[in-house]
C-alpha cells in the first residue's frame, strides 16, 4: 500500500497525535516549530532518526489500533508528516484518533 500526495489538508487530529509524540520523545515542545513544511523529510532534517521511526510506528499501531504492513515501511510512506498522515488515513483499519 502507498498513499499518493493529496492537496487536501492533513487530518489535524492525527497530525497533533504525531507532533505530541515527537515532543514527548524527541523535541520536548519544539516539534511543531521544527516541522516548517508538512512535506519536509524527517530523516534529512533531524526530526527523527531510524530508531525513532521504529518507536513511532509501534506507538501509532497501538494508539490507532492498526497494523502497518512491514513491507510498507519505506521513506515513501513515512518520511515526512504529509506522507505519514496520508498513509495512515488511507489505511483500511484507520478509524480516526
Amino acid at each position: 500500500m502507498s498513499a499518493s500526495p493529496d492537496p487536501a489538508p492533513l487530518d489535524p487530529a492525527l497530525r497533533t497525535v504525531i507532533v505530541e509524540w515527537l515532543d514527548d520523545n524527541y523535541h520536548f515542545g519544539d516539534a511543531d516549530s521544527l516541522i516548517t513544511d508538512n512535506e519536509m523529510s524527517f530523516l534529512h532534517n533531524g526530526i527523527l532518526d531510524s530508531l525513532g521511526f521504529v518507536q513511532l510506528i509501534l506507538f501509532i499501531e497501538e494508539r490507532l489500533t492498526l497494523r502497518v504492513d512491514r513491507g510498507d515501511l519505506s521513506p515513501d510512506n513515512f518520511d515526512g508528516m504529509g506522507k505519514m498522515v496520508r498513509y495512515l488515513v488511507a489505511h483500511p483499519d484507520y478509524r480516526g484518533v
Partner: protein, 641 residues
Amino acid sequence: MVAERPRGETALASFTRRAEAAAARLFPDFDALHGWSVDDAPAFWRTFLDFADLATEGEIEPVLVGDGVERGRFFPALRLNYAENLLRGADDDAVVTGWDEAGAVTHVTRGALRDGVVSLARGLVGLGVRPGDRVCAVARNTPATIEAALACAAVGAVWSSVAPDMGAPAILDRFVQLAPKVLLTHSRFTYQGRTTDLGPLVESLQRAIPALERVILLDEGSAPALDVPVHTTAQVRCADGAPWRWDRFAFDHPLFVMFSSGTTGPPKCIVHGAGGTLLEHVKEHRLHGDLGPGDVLYFHTTTGWMMWNWQLSALASGARIVLLDGSVSHPAEDSLLRLVDASGVTVFGTSPVYLQYLDRSAIEPAKRFGFEHLRTIMSTGAVLHQDQFAWVRAQFADVPVHSISGGTDIIGCFVLGQPGAPVRDGYSQAVSLGYDVQVMTADGARRTGIGELICASPFPSRPVGLFGDADGARFHRAYFAENPGYWTHGDFLELTEDRQARILGRADGVLNIRGVRIGPAEIYAVLQGFDAVAASLAVGQEDARAIGGLRLVLLLEMAAGATLDRPLALRIKKALKERASMAHVPAVIAALPGLPTTHSGKLSERAATDALNGRTVRNRHALRNPETLDALVAHPDLTLG
C-alpha cells in the same frame, strides 16, 4: 609482535598447552584451566605474560604483591609502554579504517600510525606534557583520535575522552575533577546528517578549567576564541629525525581515566593502569575472542565508553580495527551492516539494542549482505536475551554469539566467549580466565547460583584507584565495603553448574537505558534547577516493548503549590537532553504525593524499583513512609498495558 599460530588451532588451545607445561599437569577442559588460573593466580599471569610476548623491561618477579583483591598489585618491577605494544609489526599492514556517515573511508597503515603517534608525542613533550599529566578529549570516533590517544600514552600522559554529543554540564562534572593540562577536541561533529559546532562547548570547558594550558584541534576546523593557545595537531607535530625511544613506565602507571556515575555525588574518576589494561585486553582478545593477525574488528562504540579503549587495544593482537564516526542508520537504515560487509569485518561487536532495532525494523541482514568474512558476533551494553541469539542465527549469520559483560570499572569483562565451545542461548560461554567470579547469595559467596556478582581474586585490571581519592576511602566504599574481601560489581549474575553465566541486570541504582549506563545523580543534578520539584527518583521499569527492555521512569514529589503539567514535563525533558544526554530523558514522568524515604532520610531507588516492577520490596521495613509505594503502584501512568 603476535606470532602466527598453527592453522585451525585457537589461541586458547595454544595457551592451554603452555599452561599445562607451566603447571606440570593436564587441563582436560576449560574449567580445569580456569580453576588453575584462579587457584594459582601468580602462575597463570606469569604464564600469560610470557605467552603474550609483550615489549617490557625489568623483572617479571614478583608477579603479585599484597593481599587479596583490594590490595593485590601485579608486576611491580616490570615496565612497559602501552603505545609501543600496540604499534609493533610490519609497516605496510592497514591497522585502522575510519568510516564517516558520508561513506568516506580512510585506511591507516601501522607505519603511518606509528609515525603520526611519534611526531605528535614529540610535539606534546615540546609543549610541556609530562608523564602523569591529564589530557582530556572531546572526540569523534576517528583515526585522528586513535593517534592522539596513543601519542599521550607514548609520553606517559593520562587519556580521558568523552563523545562530543554529551552535554556541557556532564562533561564539566568529569573533566573539572581531572584538572587537565591539555584539551584535545574536534571542532564539529556530524550525526544523522546534522553538523554541530563544538566551539561554544570548548569555550565553556576552557572557562571552567583553570589548569588548562592549551587546546589542540583534532581536525582542520576553525578555532574558537579562547584565553589559552589553540593549535592544530599539524602545528604540534615535531618531525625530529632522531630515533624515537619508547619510555617504559611502571606497570601501574596511569593510562586511562574512565567515568562512572552512581546514585549520589559527582561521577567517579576511575584510574586504570597501563599494564593491567594491556594485559587484560590482550588476554580477552586472544584467548576469549581468538583475535589475531588477519582479523578485522568492529565494535560499535563512542569515545566515551570503555569499549572504545577495549577495541583500541586489539592493535596489540595484530588485528585491524574499523571505526564509525556517526550514526548506525544514516544515510541508510542499514548503513552499519554495509560497513561490516564492505570492511571484511571478522568480529562484529554490537549491542542488544542494535539487534532489537534491526528486528523491529524488519531488517534481515543475511538477505541484504553476504558477510563473507564474519566469524563471531559479540554483544554487550545490556542483557542479550535468549531469543536474540536465535534471531542472530536465523536472520544475521550462523556464527557464535559471544555475550560479553564487565564494565568501565574494570575496563574489561567478567564473562565472555570461549572459542570452540558451543553457545547456549541466553548465556555467556565462560568466566574470564584469572577471575574468581562468584555470586553473593543469602548464604554467602557461591560459585553457582544467582546473586550479586563478586570477584574473589586479585586481577591486573583492577583500577589503580580513583582520581582525587588520596586515602582510597571512596575507592573502598565503591567496590569493597559491601562485601569485605571481594570486589562487588553491582550486577546480578547467574552462574550455572557448568560455569556458564547470565547477567540479570544491575543490582545498584545505576540504570542501563538503551545500552547507556545512566547514573541517577546526573538526573538529580539537572532537576535541582526546577523550583517546582521538591524531590525526585530516577528508576528503571522493566518493559518488554522498550528498546533494551527497560524504560526510564522519573518520579517527582512536587513543591508546595506546584503541579506537574505537560509544559513542565517537556521543560524537564528538554533540560535533561541538553544538560546530560538523550539517554537521560525519561519515558515517563509521574508526580506522587511522596517518595519512598528511609528512616535516615535517604530517598530509596531500591524500594521504588522493586515496587514498580512488582517485586517484594526488600527494604520496606527501612522506610519511614511505606505508604508512598502504594501510591506509586496505583499511578495510572506507571501501569504497563
